[in-house]
């Protein structure tokens, strides 16, 4: 069966520090991969999605970036975090029409 791993579960980072969140999927090949963010009291905002290695589509201009170095690995990065980057970050995968989420990372930028 397919599983998705996302880490860390919680993270507290100072403003201006770098960020790296990692997500891996097991049990499937060539999935579409996604990064979503849920800000406090708001819905799920699509940040990036990828249909293959090295292929990244960005939905929202910001100081975040994403990379897909391997088929089942998706990384969310930032060179310098802003206070507004605080939120709940979710990695997800899909193969045939249904999106499956990881458990999320709670990022607090102080």
């Amino acid at each position: 069966s397919q599983t998705i791993h996302q880490w860390p579960a919680t993270l507290v980072q100072p403003v201006g520090s770098p960020l790296s969140l990692e997500c891996t999927v097991e049990g499937t090949s060539n999935p579409n991969l996604y990064w979503y963010r849920q800000a406090a009291g708001r819905g799920l905002q699509l940040l990036f999605y990828s249909v293959g290695i090295g292929q990244i589509s960005s939905e929202v201009p910001q100081n975040l970036s994403a990379s897909r170095p391997q088929d089942r690995q998706f990384i969310l990065s930032s060179k310098k975090l802003l206070l507004s980057d605080s939120g709940f970050y979710l990695c997800a995968w899909s193969v045939r029409g249904t999106l499956h989420f990881g458990n999320g990372t709670r990022l607090t930028v102080t």
Binding site: L46, L90, T98, L99, N103
Partner: protein, 112 residues
């Protein structure tokens, strides 16, 4: 521009009664719709979906209704249970597309 909207941020229902969660969309190209349930500090979990070729899909206590002409879908939970208390998101996509668009969620509280 919010293409999927859930206009009710919260809903309270007595245990055993029906919960009805509503969702509207604006893009007529959407042809596949999903409902997710989310507990605090966890990722959303898939509940039920419906294709635009249907107007109803049922899975146990959960039924999703789709009204294409009104661009409206709803999730019915019968009977509601305290464990159903969570935030519910609806989502829409195109079968040929890669993007899923989510509503802002409805927080359901089932009162014992």
């Amino acid at each position: 521009d919010q293409q999927v909207k859930q206009n009710s941020p919260s809903l309270s229902v007595q245990e055993g009664r029906i919960s009805i969660l509503n969702c509207d969309y604006t893009n007529s190209m959407f042809d596949y719709f999903l409902w997710y349930k989310k507990y605090p500090a966890e990722g959303p979990t898939f509940l039920i979906s419906i294709s635009s070729i249907k107007d109803k899909n049922e899975d146990g206590r959960f039924t999703v209704f789709l009204n294409k002409s009104a661009k409206h879908l709803s999730l019915h939970i019968v009977p509601s249970q305290p464990g159903d208390s969570a935030v519910y998101f609806c989502a829409a996509t195109r079968n040929t597309g890669n993007q899923f668009y989510f509503g802002t969620g409805t927080s359901l509280t089932v009162i014992p």
